[in-house]
Point group: D3
Chain length 229, copies 6
């Protein structure tokens, strides 16, 4: 009987077109973040549990209570193939909310990964599956199952607002959240950006300077940059 | 031409009934936070710049860029009497986005305070006004005015989602955000809670134990608590 | 049926002679810490909730679970006049485990203060009582009552081992823990140190250098210190 | 002539039965931590210097002074085959207290690893040996040899109390401390837990939900969880 | 016989004209920091030990070793009236390098304050003198006197380079370092800035918006800012 | 027209003899740091983006503004083969100032690596090149190009002063800065130290204790160390 989004599980969430998600999956988090106008990024304390981890999917969101992973089990039932579970917490906690067993279950449900503003454990097993997880900590600390949170409500995870159904794209560089409504638009912008970068990279590799390629010399001089010997 | 909420100023925001705000203003942040079901709190690194700071008002939200306070000036125009400016930032920054001059302007517009997920400066002057500010840092570091953010879009400030028009209540204990739609409901719940606490406080002051007043002995025993000598 | 000190309340703890505690209460935490050989100090993130807070008493210890203050209520019953409640937590948490009501109850039981490796709330009320608390955070965040910890077992609080009955001395400089068995011995050493300091202070105030007063010039030269112009 | 455990080396410490240690060595830190009732864990800032590091042995404890590793040399003499050196520090320090030479010496004495609430260096060499170390930092910063600490006294390392002779088990998930007296009991509980998990894992892999396997639906409903569409 | 600036005390340092220092002393740290072009600021973790602390003087610099305050005593001899002692450390330490006795000695030598990238203790006594100190921590933790550092060499304190003789200006907002060579020039720029601010403040107090006073509307529109309803 | 080192690019910097740099490149950062007398080290939060990263070169320095990487492009032009770009920032920022494109350009210019007191992105690409980077964070967060900093002025990077032309040596253990003027002298001292260590390592591997090899027993006894059983 909460006034807010507490103690609630939303079953039907709108997921974006799978083609938009598939398109986004082709880019890195930095490219997508730029394509969105440099917003939507989780804080850099979110790190993957193994080098080379990569995932792109639609968010099933979880609001956790500190030291309590009950809602991770509730969320597992809401996972559809292609989803990524994204969990925020009502206060900062590094406890191991997620591990080997939940990963096994999540994989069976078709999850592509987990982002958790808390701790994760069994990272050796998860790396072997492999089941990619981005988290603020790695910790053996177990959790209780005693207090309600919610599933599929808007949550804040590592400083980023995540709505259920948003596209979550994560790799070695971080975790970026793309609102479902603009997923295809962002994918297109990312594509344009990436197409553009190959030529730039080639030029830079040949020794052309960014100063020249981006026409920065004029603006720098205007801003007052002085060269001295 | 951003795909997202970047480069936007929303002028007309819905503010809750002033009576609900006035009612909420009578309670402490802890009481309100409990009344909401223990959600909606900013992280505890948000501290007031002086002891005894207290404010309750409706949120004008700002999305800042790191090291850039341009949007604080844009936001100033959107302040209406009774507002509190709440600013998040696209990445962590402790720079002094707000100080004496902006506070003078904000006061002239009728602002009741500022909550900023960044730094503040001129705290001596602000304390003398007094103009209450809650921030993650105090820093003389000045900022540029070069990159757009937004005003009155949903922002994440210190881990809490804030929508324009939400009620923000801040005191020595922290900063809590009450969604506009449930402001009166939360005020009523806070009132009930507070009415209830006076009697409890009296009992505890007489030496009655919480163990007895809250009937905890049974549940504790059931949970396995053992007393040894 | 825990193998360890979990789910246990020890009722009879040995407290040191009240005269030793009273003697220790006359010194600052820095003096006592030096008298002990520079050990026994909690980490400096433990800060008092108001300027000038000061307390010295015997430890009733609590092992908390994150986001759960059930054991604080269990501990309240074990408080005897002159005690200080010292609470550690099984994982890091800044939640508000202690506030106005528990302070009222603690005061009624004769407690002299609280040290908590977590958060505290209602600091305005606590400061008015005044009831001194040292904590790692101030936070409105409420807690549940669902999981057992323990009372009067050895706990680690802010990096310091605290046994029930140890003398805890706290002031603006920090929190130091004196094992009960050496309380009088440490008080004597602190007294000697303090007696000694008055004369030193007078000399230094007259302009005598520590270099000369402590005969440091020889050892410095031997260590290789060179003066240049 | 310290009043406390400073300037002391305890030579004869009681180590638990090697079979209990060997048994514990078969489990992960998360399993053992759960088997103990979710206590005894070091803070998650303790990280292994290479992926896949694993060690289980009996604790030789060290109390270090900041920026001073003299006691690591004193401790080396107390190492017996199968030991793990666990070092706390009287204040927080990230200096490189341990490196290639001490690791060579420790290996020669039969040590299985090191846990240090400070910094370690020469991690490339240590990884090549391999000699596993868990630490709060990696740092080239060298240390002096000038101030006494102690060896084989109770120490607090990364928030955990460690008594000499305790079993220390460390892997990718963290470092857990098992009191010597209950080593076999914990090993048995861990075994039971592990035996139990294989069946659970199989079920979850088949798609059975934790909600059903753990019979959580009733308790969740009773707690007030609501499903909405 | 160090190759570097270690184990050295430079006795004759060049101090800027006292009039420049006196002029700078009239401004706040934010104004001076702006006047310098927004550089020269220590990190915001440097906080004064009491509200309203203020100091401006010439730097006597100290390079400390972690947990060792020997050089603070060596530095005391180099203090001339009007100096501020600024201490960096070869690695991060929160130990109490400075307290009541050293403050008494420093006051006797004419020091105006201390900035220390470490801990300070006896803050109650120091606040009563008053002797202003800016530090990263408050800690009872005592230090040894065993390893050489240096006095009056360039040091990094809280991220800022400080040369002996630089002007250090500190208040509630932070600590700013002004190179001796440009002290008067910066004072003049600060004066111009301050003169300018009074008129601005008056305008803002009357309700004029920064948007108009600073002519921001054009640049904002050009940058693409859109107003929506 | 800055009074300080802002808005300046120094083109001609003095680099040390390449033989000294080549000699230094043969040692680890810990050895070099010891050879310098245990100073000159960046804080341990500077971590390489991949295991085994190693670089030694001469510093091209950059002073960045938060969230702005304009100066990285300006710096690229100043790179000569064998250089390492070292960037400090006027306030703390974890934004991704450096990535794939700048690395491509830097490689083309002959850079050996980058040390940045901020964030880096595209770490997968950089690791594949391989182009070694040491940073305080990994972050997809993009930056603007709007505010001047400087190139080849003295900068503070992660707590260490770096002058243009200094030798920067970085590996898994950290980043050490050797002033150009003493590069050869430090290389010689490092060589002596390393020559000396091989024999020590062999002795320790045979089981000789550091206590005996370094003749510590006498000093320890003199300091008061007591052995108990």
């Amino acid at each position: 009987m909460s006034m807010n989004n507490l103690g609630i599980v939303k079953r039907n969430i709108e997921r974006p077109d799978v083609r938009a998600v598939a398109h986004l999956a082709q880019f890195g988090s930095a490219t997508v973040h730029e394509a969105m106008g440099r917003i939507g990024l989780m804080k850099p304390y979110m790190r993957p549990i193994y080098v080379g981890a990569q995932a792109c999917g639609t968010a099933v969101t979880v609001l956790l209570q500190p030291g309590d992973n009950w809602m991770m089990h509730v969320a597992a039932e809401q996972i559809q193939p292609g989803d990524i579970v994204v969990a925020g917490c009502t206060s900062e906690s590094t406890d191991g909310f997620f591990g080997d067993l939940l990963a096994t279950s999540s994989l069976a449900r078709g999850a592509r990964g987990v982002g958790i503003d808390g701790g994760v454990r069994d990272v050796k097993d998860l790396s072997a599956m492999p089941f990619p997880v981005w988290s603020r900590a790695i910790s053996s600390k177990g959790t209780v199952k005693g207090t309600l949170g919610s599933v599929n409500v808007p949550v804040v995870c590592a400083g980023a607002l995540v709505n259920p159904g948003d596209v979550v794209l994560a790799d070695d560089d971080g975790v970026v959240v793309v609102p479902a409504a603009i997923a295809q638009q962002v994918a297109d912008a990312a594509q344009a950006r990436q197409d553009n970068e190959a030529a730039k990279r080639a030029k830079l590799a040949e020794g052309v300077l960014g100063l020249d390629m981006y026409d920065m010399r004029g603006p720098l001089e205007k801003a007052g940059l002085r060269y001295i010997d």
